[in-house]
């Protein structure tokens, strides 16, 4: 039963978490196959490519006021962060003030419609497979082309492209299929006996949804929200042609790379990464907290 309970929610566990034998050398340690070294080398390269440039960027963003775009550091300061916020090099503050609400709206719409789709798709209606592939196939459409298409469509209809209309639509074409896919994974592990039990105990369909289904699925729903938010906040290809007169953060960064030649651009990278980490951290933290509460609450009391 414990396994049923925990398998119905998203479980996030590090692969080596529970084995106490982690540091015990294998009996055949001296004769590792060559594939081990191959994979190890690949992994080291991966880590270097992922974190090396990011670390350089974070360090360089604290360049002194006289510093340039590359090493060496000429002193340490937060000068370029100030430059950034004062808008010397572009409308970064404005971009953040657009990107954040846009990401929140995308997140909300993605969560509501993905969860609704997940609930609806559990009863197999005619053509549901076709609808499913229709939704998922939009993931394969090249984002940049899709963005141009949406821009064109707005043009044809005589509407102004705007970050909260055309860009919102463009981003949803990206986040909704993702959300639906995650929902299916989450709902696939949801035991329908919970709903039957709720009905048996007198719950109406609305009560079942509110008191049983949504709370049990909450960790999965947070994961969908997280995806919705970060996919929107990072989105570039689809947004480029649809954002209208004012830029979102990724597009502002891109336009800065075209004409800014100061460490401000690194400062911007550091700030946006910080925001992303904050959001991912709080989402994972809340999932962890919910699961911990489910398993350990009684023991703590």
């Amino acid at each position: 039963m414990a396994s049923t309970a925990s398998s119905s929610v998203m479980t996030i566990t590090a692969p080596h978490d529970k084995s106490g034998t982690r540091f015990v050398p294998r009996a055949d340690a001296a004769h590792r196959p060559f594939t081990f070294y191959l994979l190890a080398a690949f992994f080291v390269a991966y880590v270097l490519f992922l974190y090396g440039p990011m670390l350089c960027m974070y360090v360089l963003s604290f360049q002194g006021p006289q510093g340039a775009l590359s090493f060496p550091m000429r002193g340490v300061s937060t000068y370029w962060f100030q430059q950034l916020w004062e808008g010397t090099n572009g409308d970064v503050a404005g971009a953040v003030k657009r990107s954040l609400p846009l990401a929140v709206v995308v997140m909300a719409v993605t969560v509501v419609f993905s969860v609704a789709a997940g609930l609806g798709f559990r009863s197999r209606v005619k053509g549901s497979t076709a609808i499913f592939y229709g939704v998922v196939v939009s993931l394969t459409a090249p984002g940049y082309v899709l963005g141009i298409g949406i821009g064109l469509m707005f043009n044809l209809l005589g509407w102004q492209t705007h970050w909260l209309s055309s860009a919102l639509g463009a981003q949803l074409s990206w986040t909704l299929p993702f959300g639906v896919l995650i929902t299916f994974a989450v709902f696939g592990r949801f035991d329908p006996a919970y709903e039957e039990a709720a009905r048996d105990l007198g719950a109406t369909p609305a009560q079942t949804l509110r008191m049983v289904v949504l709370p049990i699925l909450l960790p999965g729903i947070i994961a969908i929200a997280l995806f919705g938010f970060t996919l929107s906040y990072d989105e570039f290809a689809r947004t480029l042609q649809t954002t209208g007169a004012s830029n979102t953060v990724p597009i502002e960064i891109w336009s800065m790379t075209q004409n800014v030649t100061s460490p401000s651009i690194y400062a911007l990278g550091t700030v946006t990464t910080g925001i992303s980490f904050l959001i991912i951290g709080s989402a994972l933290g809340s999932i962890f907290w919910i699961q911990r509460r489910r398993l350990v609450k009684g023991a703590l009391e």
Binding site: S6, D200, L295, G298
Partner: protein
């Protein structure tokens, strides 16, 4: 419920109006798209306050039947009456039924107390009142110390008690249990089935318990309903089912019987004389007079068979089958003797020989033996 309920005859709905939870099924059928009927024209009566077990192999329709009584499945045809009222189309709470699910389906996000109080929460009873009531029921199942735990922290037996408490808080008339013991280990299974039985006595309501374990059904039930491919094979008291199975299917399924066959040579009333595949003959009691020349199956209880070393000089007696011992299994109380009968395609034949009787006149593996029983132990079986 001490008397056997007639299984084929559907008489009047609910025997007594005062008793709660009298259950009657009339012509209940469940047909899924383009398959054979999962439940096929079932007539069944379960009197109020009865502990009834639906018994059968997987796919026999027992769970479908339970789910139709519970209101989680709609019959394709037929009526389900609880205390004389047709409940088809009503919700579980309108029926006055409650169900205990196979894996308990305890809500993982709610504490034991909140799980138990759930039915009252759906009815809008205020928090204080429902938690007070929940604590009372939790005490009944002796889980007070664990009331604040989450289901994930409980053992299987504790989870089962929570499921029971959650199901009985609204005082249902009928409690439906879907394989309630299958998730438990052997030791707990024995303990929990005793607890279920005493809980049923205490509440005085009807329990309908689905299981595929024969001994479990016989141990707890007042009424055992053996099912076979969507039909009722036999519905009777555990003693009747075990000692006098009606059909070869029931005899095989319940176990404890050797099923043999013979050709009817003559009949006197409800007694038939059979010639067996060996030279001997058998005297068999039948429920209805048998026809001469008919091949009749009959059952002989394994614990009523005597096994003695074969004396070849003797002519084969009536109610005797000869064979060779294949296997001996010591069971403490008795010796399980498996015998290969001396005939073509011998049916499985096992004797449970009481320990003392066995060691007074032991037989060995490979030894030829004579297996015999008294005439009154052989009962004719319907096909």
């Amino acid at each position: 419920m001490q008397t056997a309920t007639p299984d084929r005859a559907f008489s009047t709905p609910a025997a007594s109006i005062d008793a709660r939870g009298g259950l009657a099924l009339a012509g209940v059928t469940k047909r899924y798209a383009d398959g054979p009927a999962a439940v096929d024209r079932i007539d069944l009566q379960i009197e109020a306050g009865t502990y009834c077990c639906l018994l059968g192999p997987s796919g026999c329709g027992k769970t479908t039947m339970l789910r139709m009584i519970a209101g989680h499945e709609t019959p394709s045809a037929g009526a389900i009456l609880i205390d004389g009222k047709n409940v088809v189309g009503l919700s579980p709470s309108e029926r006055g039924t409650a169900m205990m699910f196979q894996n308990y389906a305890l809500f993982p996000h709610l504490s034991v107390r909140d799980n138990v109080a759930f039915a009252m929460r759906t009815r809008g009873i205020d928090k204080k009142a429902r938690l007070r009531e929940a604590d009372k029921v939790i005490e009944q199942v002796q889980l007070t110390a664990l009331a604040d735990r989450m289901p994930g922290q409980l053992s299987g037996g504790q989870q089962q008690r929570v499921a029971l408490a959650r199901a009985i808080i609204m005082r249902p008339k009928v409690l439906l249990l879907d394989e309630p013991l299958s998730a438990l280990d052997e030791f707990l299974r024995l303990q929990m089935r005793g607890e279920l039985r005493s809980m049923q006595r205490m509440l005085g309501i009807t329990f309908v318990h689905v299981t595929h374990t024969q001994l479990e059904a016989i141990a707890v039930a007042d009424q055992v309903v053996v099912m076979e491919r969507g039909r009722i094979a036999q519905s009777a008291t555990p003693h009747e089912i075990y000692a006098r199975p009606q059909t070869a299917y029931v005899a095989h399924f319940i176990g404890g019987q050797n099923v043999l066959r013979g050709t009817v040579a003559g009949t006197v009333g409800h007694t038939a004389m059979l010639t067996g595949p060996q030279t001997g003959s058998f005297v068999v009691n039948t429920r209805a007079p048998a026809a001469e020349g008919q091949i009749l199956a009959f059952g002989v209880r394994r614990d009523r068979v005597a096994v003695t070393p074969l004396k070849r000089e003797l002519v084969q007696a009536s109610n005797e089958a000869r064979g060779t011992v294949r296997e001996l299994e010591y069971q403490g109380i008795y010796m399980k003797v498996t015998v290969a009968l001396h005939e073509e395609n011998p049916p499985p034949f096992v004797a449970f020989v009481e320990e003392r009787a066995f060691f007074e006149q032991p037989v060995a593996v490979g030894q030829d033996v004579s297996c015999s029983w008294a005439s009154e132990e052989a009962h004719g079986l319907e096909a």
